[in-house]
Amino acid sequence: MRISRPIVSAILLLALAACGSDAEPAAQSSEIKVGLLHSLSGTMAISEVTVRDAELLAVEEINKAGGVLGKKLVPVVEDGASDWPTFAEKATKLIRQDKVATVFGGWTSASRKAMLPVFERYKALLWYPVQYEGLESSPYIFYTGATTNQQIIPGLDYLKEQGKKKLFLVGSDYVFPRTANKIIKAYAAANGMEILGEEYTPLGHTEYSTLVNKVTGAKPDAVFNTLNGDSNVAFFKQLKSAGATAESMPVLSVSIAEEEVTGIGVDNIAGQPVAWNYYQTTETPANDAFVKAYKAKYGAAKVTSDPMEAGYNAVYLWAEAVKKAGTTEVEAVKKAAPGIALERPEGLVTIDGENQHMYKTARIGIIQPDGLIKQVWDSGEPIKPDPYLKGYPWAASLAAG
């Protein structure tokens, strides 16, 4: 015999423990549970914790104003641990065990793709707060961040207006940069721009001297940067020490917000352009209140950024849809949501009924020496979301899906 009896009892205990943890008190009728599912540990925690904080702020504000349908919102926070299967597992737990009314969560495309089948299977609602690569519109997901025609294409329009004809594309090796670069190449072909090079580095890559040598050797007018996370720090540090400047060769980034600037070092990135829909400096009455409330709750040194604002908005948009529907029941909320328009920190945000994305204003900003971002260009009005780029003839081949 090789299994001693204590092991057997250990397994027995374990099985019992697994059963025991299923006991759940019935949800009280004066409360509505909502799930917040972001990475609180692992590599993505840096970004996602702030989004969760912004969502918690929204929940708190809504509760202070009397809640939704006279009930208090109770957030159930789970950790996606920067691991896609964990996102799927925790989403299942929130839906089936905690029976939440809706879930706000995710950051990376991979986490969203992992959760999508779960939400479609159990017909539950997910609010996803980050700009992404488009080509998706699940009936059970609301996308409160930008799709490509509200960020990438306006960024290209800006570069074109600035007379930048020759571009170099640099990105981390995953779905968003590859899709974004396909769109950029199609745009360039239709607009007389030239792509001098396209390079990808593994996530977490920190040795950029070869890449910087390739970029500076090609002498582009501008670089379109879709690097992610820590790689940006290494890239900008090494680009700066190679002598490249924002004047001679601007690097337009779509994944660097106020949050990331400190880690990169303001010295290394000041003067470079970024494309988003919201900056801490965006001038709207709703934004003054948001920034003030956020700093009051989390500290004066904290900054607000686009994904945080999109997460903050998501809670309000859902609450508005619930009020309109008169119930938290998913199909009714989905039906009530289209056309809801709210004045948010980034300006007017409207839910599109067709693809459940938002109408959003595109903004180009320049990173300032104080670490904040100053707007230098905007699209003038909210842009209709077009995740499959159906409205752009040059993108016809991309939208095949």
Binding site: A17, D83, R96
Partner: protein, 346 residues
């Protein structure tokens, strides 16, 4: 004889009868996931515990098995929908099915590849390194680098593999709707049975002449060589068997959990499995299995309670087990049992 098989039979009854009856579908699915990991752990227990080969790249084999299965599932779904191409290929801009994918439409081929593919790679790698008498720490680091390189390769080939996203959104397996609780329960029973059978087979193997040779190689490789055996062959075969188990576990994991991605087979998940085996007790196969289940459960329970604490706890657990109880739970339980027996005898 009865005494000999009683513990195994008890666990088998609990796993096959009690658990499916008592657990909610969500929890049963989690248990099925831990049991998949336990199959990998069993292989690690064999290779490391019995054979002394610390493999830090078991996730690679797990992943190969998982990807084989996922490719089959994606193809049946794409074929069924009439589009012919898996969803991620469409948004990656792939226009026709890559040749590599074509044979995976056949379930026999896909399942065969899930097990034989990892075994073949382990055979090749094992032959290369063990012939050259690369061992111990060198072998560990090489397998770890293999895991790192594999992740980069999978992520880079987005059109073929789905990149960082991996593959998800599976609907059916052999005509069964994967969303149904009854399908998931069936899958759980399959996983539990496979684990049980593999456990019995591995135990048989370890108790055979070959198993004794393996332990001898672990304890004194050169001495075994001087006796006229070929330690490289023994080690390579063992490594391949453990790789095959990991591959099978990966293939079972995919329909159970519904996703496969590079994040599941990198350096960290591979190490976590080794640690699970160490916690359970590497020298006993049952310890390896138990370790995987305990650590899997602990991770879920902890991250539900307080997320940040998990890293501290996991770290502390390694440190304590390695310094105070290198034989793991199995070692502790065995020494308690031994003491009890001793006390009774005197």
């Amino acid at each position: 004889m009865i005494r000999r098989h009683l513990p195994f039979a008890t666990v088998a009854v609990i796993a096959l009868v009690a658990a499916p009856l008592l657990l909610e579908p969500f929890r049963l699915g989690l248990l099925a996931k831990y049991l998949c990991y336990a199959i990998v752990a069993l292989g690690i227990g064999l290779a490391w515990g019995k054979g002394g080969m610390l493999t830090l790249g078991q996730g690679v084999f797990f992943g190969l098995g998982g990807y084989s299965m996922a490719m089959y599932l994606k193809l049946t779904e794409a074929g069924g929908a009439g589009g012919g191409l898996p969803d991620f290929m469409v948004w990656s801009g792939v226009e026709s099915l890559p040749a590599l994918w074509v044979p995976f439409g056949n379930p026999v081929f896909a399942l065969g590849m899930a097990v034989l593919g990892p075994m073949a790679i382990a055979l090749i790698l094992g032959t290369l390194v063990f012939r050259q008498r690369v061992r111990g720490a060198y072998f560990a680091i090489l397998t770890q680098a293999l895991a790192a390189a594999m992740v980069i390769l999978l992520v880079g080939q987005q059109g073929l593999t789905g990149g960082t996203n991996g593959m998800t959104n599976f609907f059916e397996l052999f005509g069964q709707d994967l969303a149904e609780d009854s399908t998931q329960r069936g899958l759980y029973l399959v996983v539990a049975s496979v684990l049980g059978l593999l456990y019995l087979a591995t135990r048989q193997l370890v108790n055979s002449r070959y198993g004794r040779l393996l332990v001898a190689v672990r304890d004194g490789e050169d001495r075994v060589r001087f006796l006229g055996y070929d330690p490289a062959l023994v080690k390579t075969v063992t490594f391949a068997i453990s790789a095959g188990m990991a591959g099978l576990a990966g293939a079972l994991f995919v329909p159970v959990v519904g996703i496969i991605s590079p994040a599941l087979l990198g350096v960290v998940p591979s190490l976590e499995l080794v640690v699970a085996v160490a916690v359970g007790g590497r020298h006993a196969l049952a310890g390896a299995v138990l370790g995987a289940v305990v650590m899997g459960y602990a991770k879920t329970a902890f991250s539900e309670q307080f997320a940040d604490g998990w890293l501290y706890l996991q770290g502390a657990l390694f440190i304590l087990v390695m310094t105070l109880a290198p034989k793991g739970i199995a070692g502790i339980s065995r020494s308690i049992a031994g003491r009890l027996r001793h006390a009774r005898a005197t």
